[in-house]
């Protein structure tokens, strides 16, 4: 258990992801690297967990709807002291706890994802619940851009706007890739910000690796008097932080070997991030 002050530096989080991916011979590294800064800012500055309790009744909700980015969230949860170090060194060992996709039985994970397009709706329900109870709780749902191919996302968007769920924020990890290729070549999403705006959201597009921009955008949303749900479109780079992984969709699936692991560690250690 890590009991020291959380270190949500992107560099530290990426190193944790690399270590666990190498230990578990796990895939989905690129999918985790595109959301590192988004999660770092959320955990550092925004998410409220009274008593540092991931199950606190009046917590904010972070729903990782793109469950394949789960290693990035594990890395943050390690910094909070919610996960033991052995869970990382023994990742994917027989009988181990942490899976390759988010699982709601791990305190701190709100949904069981991996089948895409589920977390958005669950998050809308949580936000509706907070509205009915008149609490200050915020709900953040992190979806992938490929994930918003799924129909329930748009069903939920209609509902969130209809019911003025101003406490609801979807964050779209727009890294431009999905499993089999570029999003524009599979099902072109066009202007995602405009799409959410047309569904009644307040929306803004930012650089998803610029922590100050992320933080400012979130603050701006919560400080506004608008009753609309929010959409933060984060332009990101799949595999961000390791040059040979960036924009290279093979790192959706590829495992690290000794050589690529060492190279990736060097790249992360030497990066300015």
């Amino acid at each position: 258990m890590n009991t020291s002050t959380p270190n949500f530096s992107a560099k530290a989080l990426r190193k944790t992801v690399l270590d666990m991916a190498y230990a578990g011979s796990a895939v989905h590294i690129g999918c985790a690297f595109s959301i590192i800064e988004l999660l770092a800012v959320l955990y550092r500055n925004h998410l409220r967990y009274p008593g540092n309790d991931p199950l606190a009744v009046n917590r904010d909700y972070l729903v990782l709807s793109k469950g394949h980015g789960v290693m990035a969230q594990y890395a943050c949860m390690r910094e909070l002291g919610w996960l033991h170090n052995e869970a990382f060194t023994g990742y994917f060992a027989d009988g181990s706890l942490l899976k390759g996709l988010s699982d709601s039985r791990i305190p701190g994970m709100e949904v069981t994802s991996g089948s895409l397009g589920h977390g958005f709706s669950v998050g809308v329900g949580m936000a509706m619940g907070a509205k009915l109870r008149n609490t200050e709780q915020k709900t953040y749902v992190l979806v992938g851009d490929g994930e918003i191919n799924e129909g329930p996302i748009w069903e939920g968007a209609l509902f969130a706007a209809q019911h003025a769920l101003k406490n609801f924020m979807v964050i779209v990890d727009e890294n431009g890739f999905q499993a089999m290729g570029k999003t524009e070549e599979v099902l072109d999403l066009g202007n995602i910000q405009a799409k959410f705006e047309s569904f009644g959201f307040d929306a803004v597009t930012i650089d998803g690796h610029d922590e100050i921009s992320i933080d400012n955008a979130i603050n701006h949303f919560w400080q506004s008097n608008s009753i609309a749900p929010k959409a933060l479109i984060a332009k990101t780079v799949k595999g961000k932080g390791v040059p040979f992984m960036e924009h290279n969709n093979i790192w959706h699936y590829t495992r690290l070997d000794q050589e690529t692991y060492a190279q990736a560690l060097d790249a992360v250690a030497g990066s300015a991030l």
Partner: protein
């Protein structure tokens, strides 16, 4: 049965402000009382069942007690994955109502007819499947679903087949209810939903020594009780307005073949869709579930022809 449903959800919602009714834009007049009595607890989620069920999971996580209403063809069949991942995986307290099960929507065709919902749901871990036979079982099942805080799929079929009980029965999870006494060593009828009344009528007229059981629970089911029934019977006849693949007939057969082998006639919907349009009674005939056809099948089964 529908009045009993309306009365029950109004009563539950007035007693517990955390009870919410979610509907996928269905149940117009059915919810008149609820909307009047508990307007703040009524949510029309629109024609968007997948989102509705996911939201119900989020609301349950936030401490609410959602009752999710849809037509059985849509809730649960359209949303099986949301039920599995978002609700049952964590045993969330959500009651899913599938109305109009079987051939209720006889005139509308295959999209609204639902004869595979039990098969789809009973393989989902942590999910209970209830199938009340009349208004009294409906009330008892709703009360139990609420009190148990379990994840429950409740199947509502044809609602005007007549009462099976004289009042709200005492029920226990998994237990079958004897609705007509019989003699050990004779025939046992085990029926669920709309066909319990039919089984009682057939038994009363043709097989006075047969016992008739109603199965308000498809899952969990008391396998010891089923074993005893099978062991004490010469022949078992299972009746349901559902596919013979994966429904109550399968449940009874699975238990019997392991613990008390007995000849079992599974009366249900064969592995086929409806061909034609017509009244509910017509559709039952088309599928061999009208009383005459059932009687002929039972007779042939017993005599070995």
């Amino acid at each position: 049965m529908r009045d009993a449903f309306s009365d029950t959800i109004v009563r539950l919602a007035k007693a517990d402000p955390d009870v919410l009714l979610l509907t996928g834009d269905h149940g117009y007049a059915l919810f008149d009382d609820f909307r009047k009595e508990c307007p703040a607890q009524y949510i029309n989620a629109g024609i968007a069942e997948q989102n509705m069920v996911g939201m119900a999971a989020g609301l349950a996580r936030a401490g609410f007690r959602p009752i999710v209403y849809g037509l059985s063809a849509f809730v649960p069949v359209r949303v099986v994955e949301q039920i599995k991942l978002d609700i049952s995986h964590d045993q969330l307290s959500v009651i899913l109502i599938g109305d109009g099960a079987g051939f209720v929507y006889s005139y509308l065709g295959t999209s609204h007819q639902s004869t595979e919902d039990v098969a789809c749901t009973r393989a989902i871990p942590n999910l209970s499947v209830y199938s009340p036979a009349d208004r009294f079982e409906l009330t008892a099942c709703m009360n139990l679903a609420y009190q148990s805080k379990a994840s429950v799929y409740l199947r509502m079929g044809k609602s005007d087949r007549g009462d099976v009980h004289k009042g709200v029965p005492q029920i226990q999870v998994g237990r079958l209810l004897e609705v007509k006494p019989g003699r050990s060593g004779d025939i046992a009828f085990i029926a669920t939903g709309s066909l319990v009344r039919t089984a009682m009528d057939i038994a009363a007229d043709l097989y006075p020594d047969a016992v008739v059981w109603s199965a308000p629970f498809i899952k969990p089911i008391d396998s010891r009780q089923v074993t005893t029934i099978c062991a004490q019977s010469q022949v078992v006849v299972v009746l349901e307005e559902h596919s013979v693949l994966g429904g109550l007939g399968s449940v009874i057969s699975e238990i019997a073949c392991e613990f008390a082998p007995v000849r079992i006639l599974r009366v249900g919907v064969k592995d086929r869709f409806s061909e034609h349009c017509g009244s509910y009674e017509y559709l039952l005939k088309e599928h061999g579930l009208d009383r005459i056809a059932i009687e002929q099948r039972i007779c042939a089964f017993i005599t070995g022809n």
